[in-house]
């Protein structure tokens, strides 16, 4: 069923009783051309683009929970491409361009809202660094604008400009950045993939990867039995080390928990996505009125989808320091998601040393904005056995070769990326 204004009217006239499920619930076939492990945003978009752009439709997406239960429904929904390094800018800009056409492309309302992403600078050095970043972006054809204090005050009068320690001096604005309704992204990609023949198999947990005598991957053992495949693609960020271990691979990744928060619904006040440069706090306001915000990870290794109170307190302190009025609001919900924190803060989309095994991992806490490009580039890699040109730096062996993509310049210390 194609969604349109006409379909809404037609369904309304029949009492909305004739809507059909957005995707099927098939039993797994014995063998597929491609099996994608992980039915999150990246796995689903990989399946969608494999089917739509690369003509491979005999695909299964295996999800151990249900669609939308993992990180695709746990992030703070921000999209942007305001990166500095060559390995990152073209990739994230490709992603932002895909976001811009996504809803028409997969015929689903994902509520893409280009409300602008503002990164605030609180010292002269930071202002210089942001100017440099903005210039790098513009040289790659990405929109970026430096705003001074006066322009910021007109745009965001509710910020604490005269903080004694961290006054706000300037801001780097990317107007094309914004937010997207994350659940709809998962549902839209799932529906688009399913329509093209992809089997989305929920509550199907992979327990082992089967390999033949030559070491090539031939399929996976699951709680629904053995499923064979020609190519196996892992898109299980948060648990990448666990799935890669099934094939005997050790990854440059540590797993950490990141928390996110939503306030009670309030009248529209925060019109943009704002990133606090003195800490690591980011905030936007959802269409329902809730303020959606988060800050740092909890710093210790964690596979638990819940966080520590000390980090909750730290996040609230940062928020109130930036927007004093936040202290009058109430937090409604908080949750945690587990992240693949890579050794340079950048992701991996690459083949592995094992034949037929492909890896999409290491998204740190920037995976959501990459969902379309990650899927597109991973699909390109799986279909053609070579990297898409915008993801060619995101190699698994870059650490060995000394070609790290360390956006923040922090070195191999995953918990501070």
């Amino acid at each position: 069923m194609r969604y349109s204004a006409y379909s809404i009217i037609k369904q309304a006239l029949s009492g909305n009783r004739l809507w059909t499920p957005a995707w099927r619930e098939p039993e797994p076939k014995p063998h597929y051309d491609v099996i994608i492990v992980g039915g999150g945003g990246h796995g689903l978009s990989t399946a969608y683009y494999l089917a739509k752009e690369f003509g491979i439709t005999n695909i299964a997406v295996l999800e151990k929970g249900y669609i939308g239960s993992g990180n695709v429904g746990r992030n703070t929904t921000i999209i942007r491409s305001n990166y500095l390094l060559e390995g990152n800018i073209p990739f994230y800009e490709f992603s932002l361009k895909l976001w811009e056409g996504l809803e028409q492309d997969f015929n689903y309302n994902a509520m893409v809202s280009q409300r602008g992403v503002m990164m605030l600078a609180h010292s002269d050095g930071q202002r210089d660094a942001y100017a440099r970043r903005g210039n790098a972006m513009r040289m790659h054809g990405v929109d970026a604008e430096m705003l001074d204090r006066k322009q910021l005050q007109a745009l965001m009068p509710y910020l604490n400009y005269d903080h004694a320690r961290f006054p706000i001096l300037a801001g780097l604005l990317q107007k094309r950045g914004g937010t997207v309704r994350h659940d709809a992204v998962a549902w839209g990609y799932a529906r688009g993939a399913d329509m093209r023949g992809v089997d989305i198999i929920q509550h199907c947990e992979v327990s082992a990867i089967r390999r033949d005598e030559q070491g090539r991957v031939t399929g996976v053992e699951t709680n629904k039995g053995f499923i064979g495949c020609n190519k196996l693609a892992l898109a299980t960020a948060g648990h990448s080390s666990e799935t890669a271990r099934m094939a005997g691979l050790e990854l440059p990744i540590e797993t950490h928990v990141l928390q996110a928060f939503v306030s009670e619904g309030i009248k529209p006040v925060v019109d943009h996505v704002i990133v606090y440069g003195a800490g690591h706090f980011y905030i936007s306001q959802s269409d329902k009125g809730g303020l959606v915000f988060g800050a740092d990870i909890d710093y210790y290794s964690s596979y638990a989808q819940r966080g520590n109170l000390a980090t909750v307190e730290h996040t609230m302190e940062e928020g109130v320091s930036l927007i004093p009025g936040l202290s009058r609001g109430k937090v409604l919900r908080a949750w945690g998601g587990v992240m693949d924190m890579s050794m340079d803060g950048s992701p991996i989309i690459d083949r592995t040393p094992i034949d037929n095994l492909y890896l999409n991992a290491g998204w740190c806490y920037g995976g959501f904005k990459a969902t379309p490009a990650s899927g597109f580039c991973f699909a390109h890699l799986i279909a053609k056995n070579e990297s898409h040109h915008v993801s060619r730096f995101l190699r698994l062996d870059r650490f060995e070769r000394g070609h790290m993509i360390d956006e923040a310049g922090k070195g191999p210390q995953p918990n501070i990326h």
Binding site: S241, S301, F399
Partner: protein
Amino acid sequence: MASLITCPHCGTRPKEEFSIRGTALTRPHPAASEEDWHRYVYLRDNPKGRYQEYWHHAAGCRRWLVVDRDNVTHDVFSVTDAAPARGASE
């Protein structure tokens, strides 16, 4: 939730007093192969479950500690000074 850490020198202290380095790995010999150093610097076993991590008691005794805990349940099994463990392995 790993909120309280019992430092062997200072007693039970809040987590905020500590800064966390990461997995408690044994540093290779300076003359070890590039492969060994690559493994030490970049690759991680990253298990789900029991985990040994270096924590620095930055706002306390300033000693490096090994915190042995579960990264799913957040149970803490033991906290020991890192020096004897390191000495024993060298």
